[in-house]
Amino acid sequence: MKWTPQDIEMYAKSKEYVDTVVISLFPVSFGQEMKQSASMSEFLTLLTNQLERLFTGRILTLPPFTYLKNGNNEQWLPLLKQWEKKLQEEEVKHIVYLTSDSDWKMNEAELEGTLIWMPSLPLETMDDSQKFTLVQSQVKQLQQLVTQKWQENE
């Protein structure tokens, strides 16, 4: 389910079936890295949407966690922790973070949720069918990771 009023209505009715929340982590950079950060967010948005379509009935995608990129993600950690705390209160069982920002790797241990790092691919250089095939194959891997996680916990 997406972060839209229609889907949230559905969520409210079938909350017991939705045990997983997906949050994408969006770094925003300026200067030299500006384009790359835009590219990352385009890619992740596509991925998240596709993943949501596959698992509509069991995951809720939150609006992306967006932050200014300045070399160290330490400072955003407390904010994410607050989200996690809230989600746990809401009885969400699985939290999945999707990001192309490899710096999060360093903080992985401190996060409750599962961090999935996807290499960012320059979609802007591809035509539609290449894009489609590529995103499709990434989504497939993601899909496996998520189902695995569900199975581990059963």
């Binding site: 079936y17 698992f55 509509t56 539609d128 189902t147």
Partner: protein
């Protein structure tokens, strides 16, 4: 086109309400919905969309067929890709099923759970369907998978909007 359209003048007055209008938002919202709805619903239902699937290549094994079309909402047109599971049944008739689970809308796979071969399987809450799309009692879905109307043109499969199965 629509029976409930707000009059033009009314609509204009809503649009012009501006910032002060936030106060009255509670009252305003339902009306705005009416004004916007016809546009949102203007999807091209009933149109057949070409797929890359050759009808002659279909067998009794369901294959995944993706097809893309343009969908318009109030602001922009976007490409939407839909998927169908397509095969020929015992009588040689084409069957094109929607992969959207009738429980809460996840995408079902064919033959993806080893414990239940030759069924459609939903990874979310383990809903299952027979090959013909019938939901298997005791699993969460309460209805059979939707069916795509289809037609054949120049040897290729064309699909339209999936519809709930009738009769059966």
């Amino acid at each position: 086109m629509s029976k409930h359209r707000v009059s033009r003048r009314q609509f204009l007055s809503y649009t012009l309400t501006g910032v002060g209008g936030f106060m009255a938002a509670g009252m305003l919202m339902p009306m705005v919905r009416f004004a916007v709805d016809p546009v949102l619903k203007a999807d091209k239902g009933g149109n057949f969309i070409p797929t890359k699937q050759k009808v002659a290549d279909l067998t009794s094994d369901p294959v995944r067929v993706d097809f893309t079309f343009k969908q318009k909402d109030a602001w922009y047109e976007s490409d939407v890709t839909n998927t169908a599971w397509v095969y020929k049944n015992d009588k040689g008739e084409i069957v094109a099923l929607s992969p959207t689970c009738k429980h809460l809308g996840c995408t079902v796979g064919w033959n993806t759970d080893k414990r239940y071969p030759n069924q459609f399987f939903c990874p979310c809450h383990y809903g299952r369907y027979e090959k013909d799309g019938t939901n298997i009692p005791g699993t969460p879905p309460q209805a059979p998978l939707d069916v795509y109307p289809f037609k054949e043109k120049d040897g290729y499969l064309y699909l339209s909007q999936a519809k709930p199965r009738t009769g059966a």
